[in-house]
């Protein structure tokens, strides 16, 4: 095993352990050893996050460990981002996600976790908070032109506000230009389809996977 390879293996391990300072230090060391930012990202950070996701699905890791790992991932990506952009001649601008819990619903934590996971996956996240009126979503999408819009609702009584929000985005001519993902305890794939969302995710980890799939399918 080369010294460089050992650094990336260690980087993936630090990521798994949620050691953000360690991840940052190892990203710097890997770059100092002459590795390309893309290689550090792919063989270090993404490789580590893949194991995290796999172990979450297998019931070996749980949400707290995932959050810490995603934070560490975000720290590493921020270190690499300028170099990645430079290597891609500025074309590697991060995707933007606008998130919010719909009007009337004060739940926040689940949506925040989705934001953390998306940041860990390299998205720029604009979190509108909770109790977000449809017109605020419309304004944010109009200004930010995000690739992804995430709507959260935790109550059966506030779920209909997802439909209203999507309808407002459609009325403003903005829905077709983005990808709308919905989630929350009472939300189902059938509900997502019924209200015109592009997709549904049952948890924060799945949200990232689903977002990637949907964006890839749309070429976004």
């Amino acid at each position: 095993m080369s010294e460089t390879h050992a650094t990336l293996v260690e980087l993936a391990q630090k990521l798994y352990a949620g050691d953000a300072p360690g991840v940052l230090a190892l990203c710097k060391r890997a770059l100092g050893e002459g590795l390309a930012a893309r290689e550090v990202l792919d063989a270090g950070l993404l490789a580590g996050m893949e194991v995290v996701g796999r172990d979450f699905k297998a019931g070996e890791l749980f949400l707290p460990e995932i959050i810490v790992a995603a934070r560490a991932m975000h720290a590493g990506i921020e270190e690499l981002r300028p170099l990645l952009a430079e290597a891609a001649s500025g074309a590697a601008a991060p995707r933007t996600a606008v998130l919010g819990t719909v009007k009337g619903d004060l739940h926040d934590i689940g949506k925040k976790l989705v934001g953390i996971m998306l940041e860990g996956a390299g998205f720029r996240v604009l979190d509108l908070g909770h109790d977000v009126a449809p017109e605020r979503f419309v304004e944010a999408v109009r200004v930010e032109r995000p690739q992804l819009v995430g709507l959260s609702a935790l109550l059966s009584t506030t779920m209909p506000m997802m439909r209203t929000t999507i309808a407002e985005l459609e009325r403003a001519g903005l829905a077709a230009g983005t990808t709308i993902l919905v989630g929350g305890a009472p939300v189902t794939a059938a509900w997502a389809k019924e209200i015109g969302a592009h997709g549904f995710a049952p948890d924060a980890v799945s949200a990232v996977e689903r977002a990637r799939e949907l964006l890839a399918a749309r070429g976004a």
Partner: protein
């Protein structure tokens, strides 16, 4: 209707359950260290209080409770706003793990508060020759969430500091409203009380049941 201060203790196991850990799994050492650091913080922010009353069937029917008994016990409790505010503050400061742990602690504490209030209700009902069955809440099972407004109207929500949003959500969010059917004690065992029984101090109780959830997440 009087407001009771409730003594709430959140066992580590309940906090872990609230965080999503099955019984056989333990948090990673760095997560466990954070849990240990935050438990006393969370406990110091609890302001658990609640109120209950025994009402006639009609009041429960007005709240949409399915199949109420002739008399029904109603309850409302909250852990207050301070823990929730701290979780929110830490979340906004980017301390997501802290926010998650405090939020989970709040959920477990709200359930513990409901159990404590339920015990008080159980004792009051018992003194009248009645035994409550398992507590149920609007929004769960066959009880539509729409019943929440009438249920809270029958209880001192304002004194407890609990408000209901347009979407029928309680604030503080870590609040529990419930009702329990009351059966004559002479009727003998019949309706299982579920997991509350493990924490209930009413003994002997003809309805005491083993906790089926104790072993179901191995």
């Amino acid at each position: 209707m009087s407001v009771h201060a409730l003594t709430v203790r959140v066992p580590r196991r309940e906090l872990l359950r609230s965080l999503g850990y099955p019984r056989a799994k333990a948090p990673a050492p760095h997560v466990l260290a954070r849990i240990e650091a935050l438990e006393p913080v969370a406990a110091s922010l609890l302001e658990a209080r609640g109120s209950y009353r025994l009402v006639a069937r009609e009041a429960a029917e007005a709240a949409g409770m399915p199949e109420p008994s002739a008399e029904v016990g109603l309850g409302l409790c909250t852990i207050g706003p301070r823990l929730e505010a701290e979780a929110q503050r830490r979340g906004e400061a980017g301390e997501a793990l802290d926010a998650l742990i405090l939020d989970a602690y709040g959920s477990a504490a709200a359930e513990a508060a409901a159990d404590a209030l339920d015990r008080a209700l159980c004792s009051a009902a018992s003194a009248r020759g009645l035994i409550p069955t398992r507590r149920i809440s609007p929004g769960y099972g066959r009880w539509a969430l729409a019943g929440q407004r009438a249920l809270l109207a029958a209880l001192p929500a304002r004194e407890l500091g609990v408000e209901l949003s347009e979407g029928l959500m309680m604030t503080p969010r870590k609040s529990v409203s419930f009702a329990a059917r009351l059966a004559p004690a002479a009727a003998g065992p019949g309706a299982p009380r579920g997991r509350r029984c493990a924490a209930c101090t009413l003994d002997p109780c003809p309805y005491r049941a083993d906790d089926p959830e104790e072993d179901d997440d191995e």
